[in-house]
Amino acid sequence: MTEILIEARRLVKHFEPRGLFLKKKSEAAVRAVDGVDLAIAAKETVGLVGESGCGKSTVGRLFLRLLEPTSGQILHKGRDLVSLTPKELEERRRDLQIVFQDPFGSLNPRMSVGAIIGEPFAIHRLAKGAERERRVARLLDLVGLPRAAADRYPHQFSGGQRQRIGIARALALEPQFLVCDEAVSALDVSVQAQVINLLQDLQRELGLTYLFISHNLSVVRHISDRVAVMYLGRIVELADADILFKAPAHPYTRALLSAIPPGHPRAKRDREKLKGDVPSPLAIPQGCRFAPRCRFAVERCRSEDPALSIIADGRSVACHLVADGSLSVPPRLSPHSGAAA
């Protein structure tokens, strides 16, 4: 494996219930992230998928230390981000950036586009006046927006254009690592393609590393080198994109993939229907957290929490049954084999 850029070790984030007086002891914390290990190599794209509320965004924010982890480490180039002083953190922040989902909420409506993209230069006192304008213009070029956009305001732009503004802002400090938290989820399909292409072009040109968070599996499949599947605050499977989508190992991954509608009306689909809803992160089940919904679950699954362990093909899976071989990994099959060629 190539050089690791950033790595999470035993990362935990619990949201404690608030309240100064009257905090009830019995009230459980939201266990949003509950022991995540994830190493990301330079210049690769790791996709992070999972259902709503499983902790994807929290992981993303923890990687940037926008949230304080409850425990665990985030190693960036060997240094634990958690141990950094505010001053050091400010420096590191230039290397680590984020692009958000909401093309409406992620841009300050009171600032012109030029001011938004120039904000990083102002914060770090990197450039002023004409120099700042020049750099903003370059960034606009980079994301394919006309330079004249600098003196317009966010509300005048479409969703796709706004998302490009957000990317330009994130790129201003020339970061190496970019968390894309649902960066294309709010966009229309036709525009979504524009942004995905842009992100891929930028990665190629600038050698960026991405943590690409999405619940849209086909998008993740398209853009990612490796994919991590999260369930209730834990990574349950981590593998090369091709391998994972062709031959999902974890029962949850299997169910997730089979739930995706086929791309074509004639495509057959044999669904593994998942029963019930995702449990609340306030009350994570004992043992394997997927066990209550898992059709393969055995006694051991309900008592013992499986660790993420490496199996064949360099993939990691957190499942007792896969690990001990009692649940065989299916051959590499295409989930929608009937799709039009």
Partner: protein
């Protein structure tokens, strides 16, 4: 070492993206102004307020008489061509006093607005943004709010003595808690927005985030609130003057003129009637102004 962005070749990027049709340049301020001018409540309220403001600012030039010129031979004269609104028991011209009264009332109103605006914003922003301060600050605000505002104002004004500053202080203290709550609520909403997190990710300081990103976007409810504070400050000032803890004589304030006339309500109703009507008009104007601003600033409840 990754290639620099500044040197990145544009040619390799998706040409589809570049040089799209760009919207007309329009500043949010102009857009906002245009929307405001299209709002009927704002225009009517604004005009009413503007008239009173002009009268107040140019009171010395406009008022037909000196506001404090006594003439005991012309006491309590009914409205006439000479004294449009009649005279009070000092023989002073009510119209002139009302015009000057507008000046003082507006000054007081404006000062209260400033007071509340500054302290409400500081307290609200501090407790909304620094959650550690929230509990203690809000408990204090709760306690202040639990006092009926007008009693609080009377107590403060009566305690510290009747003067313009004390009236401002009293009303300022009485109106600040609610304002702080409004700012706090608004800050709580804005601080969760993604552009704030983006600023944090860029390494912006707390102060920069609070003032440049959060407060700038949390102002709408405050501005609306302040117009209503203005209106209620004018009402409350009138009330304090009426109760006798307002600015001391010979200062002409609306409430003071009414208080002066209340002993002669039946014999000389004009002394109370006209200033009361003027208060009504000013307050109405301000309320309309606030409605207009709210409609434009807070599209959620736009009609």
């Amino acid at each position: 070492m990754p290639p620099s962005i500044q040197g990145c070749a544009l040619s390799s990027l998706d040409t589809n993206l570049a040089h799209e049709a760009l919207p007309e340049r329009q500043s949010p301020f102009l857009l906002f102004a245009r929307r405001l001018l299209g709002n009927r409540a704002f225009v009517i309220g604004g005009s009413l307020f503007l008239i009173v403001l002009v009268l107040a600012v140019f009171a010395d030039q406009i008022a037909p008489f000196k506001p404090n010129a006594n003439n005991f031979r012309a006491r309590l004269e009914a409205p006439s061509a000479m004294h449009w609104f009649g005279t009070d028991h000092f023989g002073r011209d009510i119209l002139s006093r009302a015009i000057h009264g507008g000046r003082l009332s507006l000054f007081i109103g404006l000062s209260v607005v400033l007071f509340t605006g500054v302290f409400g914003t500081l307290i609200g922003a501090a407790s909304g943004y620094f959650r550690r301060l929230d509990n203690i600050l809000m408990r204090i605000m709760d306690a202040l709010m639990a006092f009926p505002a007008i009693l609080l104002a009377i107590t403060v004004a009566a305690t510290l003595g009747a003067s313009v500053q004390n009236v401002i202080l009293a009303l300022g203290i009485a109106t600040t808690p609610h304002t702080a709550r409004i700012v706090r609520a608004s800050v709580l909403v804005v601080r969760e927005m993604e552009f704030v997190e983006a600023a944090r990710a860029l390494g912006a300081s707390h102060m920069r985030i609070l003032f440049r990103h959060i407060l700038a976007n949390a102002m709408a409810p405050l501005i609306v609130r302040l117009t209503y504070v203005f209106a209620s400050a004018i009402l409350a000032e009138a009330l304090l003057s009426y109760i006798g803890v307002g600015p001391p004589p010979p200062a002409a304030t609306f409430g003071g003129i009414i208080a002066n006339g209340r002993d002669f309500m039946v014999e000389a109703p004009w002394v109370t009637l006209f200033p009361g009507l003027i208060i009504l008009i000013v307050v109405l104007g301000l309320n309309l102004l606030g409605d207009g601003l709210r409609d434009v600033l807070d599209p959620r409840i736009r009609v």
